[in-house]
Symmetry: C2
């Protein structure tokens, strides 16, 4: 026998219980998800979670090894929300549709980006595999070799996680301030300008940005994505 791996995905699910226990893994996971969305990751405690489920503080431990494993499950659950375009016209559309859906999902659950970084072996969680498989299919059938497709996938995934991390951090900061994005921006501006003033190029970029019209976060995201896709496409054509 191989020694057990310290990850949920390798662990056998518990033998099907014959009776109907009050708690189930899915209930626990979805309650945790609600709590995370409502109050953020630092507010998620096993006691609160138990309370929300009308259960004791330690009742969840029959269904979940520990808090970390619970988080793995929740993260994978959220990854299940990502929609994969069903009949994309080409590989770019497949990737781009998936990318935008991932972004939407991560921004709907702004704690995700900061959390994935501490979840081990995220690559072999079911819903991540589902997405990888989809993208590899799209890429290889467009002409990428499996090696090239794998590398492309890594690059894309890195960009997506990074972009989501920045954007989510921004949203969380605003959310915590309890103000609207405009109010927050207005209050931030003096401090930002003060911090920037000794960095001439940052200052210029800042000024160039404020007089531009289309600097929405969404446009910015698409822009970076297009950039990667262009780089990939160039390689595809070269072969």
């Amino acid at each position: 026998m191989t020694k057990e791996m310290p990850t949920v995905w390798a662990r056998q699910p518990k033998r099907q219980q014959r009776d109907q226990p009050a708690l189930s893994r899915e209930q626990i996971v979805s309650a945790a998800l609600e709590l995370l969305d409502a109050e953020g990751p630092e507010a998620l405690s096993m006691r609160k979670l138990g309370a929300r489920l009308n259960a004791g503080a330690t009742s969840m431990y029959s269904h979940v090894a520990n808090k970390e494993e619970l988080l793995e499950l929740v993260v994978d659950d959220v990854h299940g929300e990502i929609q994969l375009p069903e009949t994309p016209a080409n590989w770019r559309e497949a990737v781009s549709g998936c990318a935008h859906s991932l972004r939407d999902t991560y921004l709907r659950h702004p704690w995700m980006a900061a959390t994935v970084g501490s979840v081990p072996l995220i690559n072999i969680s079911p819903n991540m595999l589902r997405m990888s498989d989809y993208l590899l299919q799209a890429l290889t059938s467009a002409g990428f070799s499996y090696k090239a497709a794998d590398q492309a996938l890594n690059a894309i995934a890195a960009y997506l996680i990074g972009a989501a991390t920045f954007e989510a951090a921004w949203l969380v900061t605003i959310q915590r301030s309890g103000q609207s994005e405009e109010q927050w921006l207005e209050k931030l501006m003096p401090a930002a300008e003060e911090a920037i003033k000794n960095y001439p190029h940052v200052l210029q970029a800042y000024q160039a940005q404020t007089e531009q019209s289309d600097n929405s976060r969404e446009a910015n995201f698409s822009n970076g994505l297009t950039c990667i896709l262009d780089g990939l496409e160039a390689r595809l054509e070269k072969v």
Copy 2:
């Protein structure tokens, strides 16, 4: 007066103390850094930090508002380790040198990637501004407009953070297992193959990868980076 911003960078440093107090901000930050490197982020507690500094558990609060702010300072401190090429031959070299140094830095402190996601307003921390300014300078003097350079910077930064996140998560997982990367891989393989088996394209990519020789993490990172740079360069030429 504008209301004070809830971030270290906007806050005035405390009035210079005339005597030589036992603790200083720098000491605290560097001790925290050591602790994080040695035992990981979940092992960093104010009490342990105090003990390491031969100080009481709450003595740090005269120099640092709270643990979160301490983390902001540590993160910026680490960002200070990133080396910026002094006389790059062209913009690609500038970006690439900076990128590799960032990667090295993040892998030297594997807790960084998971931590930056929960640090607010990272963009206006001094050492981040220093790097942004450097890159904007390199990009604009290569012909990018300030708007284009800003977008390019965002794309690059996202890729870097994302790539570091994946790689660091991998390293941390191995480190926690207390085994070498090879041992760990060997033990992981059966579980991974089991998890993969229903995803045909992932499986093929996996097989293609194992028979390849040059699939080092470093090569993978460079590859994705090159891909972005190619995409950027294409835009630069088009203008």
